[in-house]
Symmetry: C2
Subunit: 198 residues, 2 copies
Amino acid sequence: MQKEPMPEKPMREKPMRADARRKREAIIAAAVEVFEERGVDIALDEVARRADVGIATLYRHFPTREVLITGAYLHEIGRLCAGADELLAGLPADEAMKTWMRRFIGNAQGRPGLAMALKSIVKATDAEGLAAAHDEVYTALQKFLDAGYRDGIFATRVEAAVLATALSGISLASDAAGREAQAAAIIDLTVNGLRYPG
Amino acid sequence: MQKEPMPEKPMREKPMRADARRKREAIIAAAVEVFEERGVDIALDEVARRADVGIATLYRHFPTREVLITGAYLHEIGRLCAGADELLAGLPADEAMKTWMRRFIGNAQGRPGLAMALKSIVKATDAEGLAAAHDEVYTALQKFLDAGYRDGIFATRVEAAVLATALSGISLASDAAGREAQAAAIIDLTVNGLRYPG
DNA sequence: CTAAGATATGGAGGAATCCTCCATTTCGCA
DNA sequence: TGCGAAATGGAGGATTCCTCCATATCTTAG
């Protein structure tokens, strides 16, 4: 007989101990630095050293390289997601969406880590700390979609998830520097595809 | 004084010795097998062992993992590229292109290696043995474009390179199995974007 | 404030993988 | 058949991964 039934999913994750949170943030900061400087394939000891943290601590917080990369770019992706409303206030839905996407891709240029992180976040339907970022991306895209349908600018119905995957794909394919024009062209095609009357 | 001026780029690569060619092909065959079975992050010794080849031989032929992956999927990508003409014979340009792209993405589903190889090939403007595959992809896409412009189906002018990058992006973003529907939706958007009158 | 339990830490070190080096073998050609 | 060039294999040093656990730090109850 159990006094307290074990919940399937804990309501709220037990808050982290203060030192743990500090270390975790130091690791993220170090990872951002190192990834910018030397790319994403660096030895993880380097990150640990720069964060002034044992390697085990790094592995406890970020069990795989992918998780660390995603963690490192979470903030930036959140930042990039903001601004959908401002754009929609000043531009028609299609132009707003294009501008927003261009900003996103522009930041991913020369930073494969950001593209990878976006892929993880888009994929992550269940929470692992990614739920918030996942929602931010989807919410922003949904706003553009809603505005476009409301104003009769978009003719084809799609889920936000489709655009999220598309955005992730464009990032991954044009993460090499100097592909701005090409990326912009793909964005135009995609968004214009929404306008095309099926 | 040089008798024969050193050409900047050798006209034609000196033909490989027979045994070298044999080993090289054994490596590719083994790589295809292993990649299908256990993914692309396997230890390369495994590939060498299966090809019955020393590890050094593998490294000589394929200096990096990326080169090996690309080599392993070169044939398949060539095969996927063929068939553009048949599709164009039976379908309008937009439908033909969509079908061709769907076939491509469908094959990349659950096979990250294929998506990576496609990325390498699309990127490879200069030859490294990739020139042939690069041209096959671009040529196929150009055919769809030409047909579409000729028949007034496509309204927006783009370079084949843009579509190649888009294709590579869709592959990379939807390489996880079970994304068929989403990938198809992105393809539709992209191709319909070509139809949209700018 | 203190003590005790819970949590988190660091870094040693075994295991896995990478990748080069070079003595030896094989091939192609005359 | 013999010779020089080309190709080979695999040993092994270097690197990187990642776990394990003795120790240190935090938190909370009293």
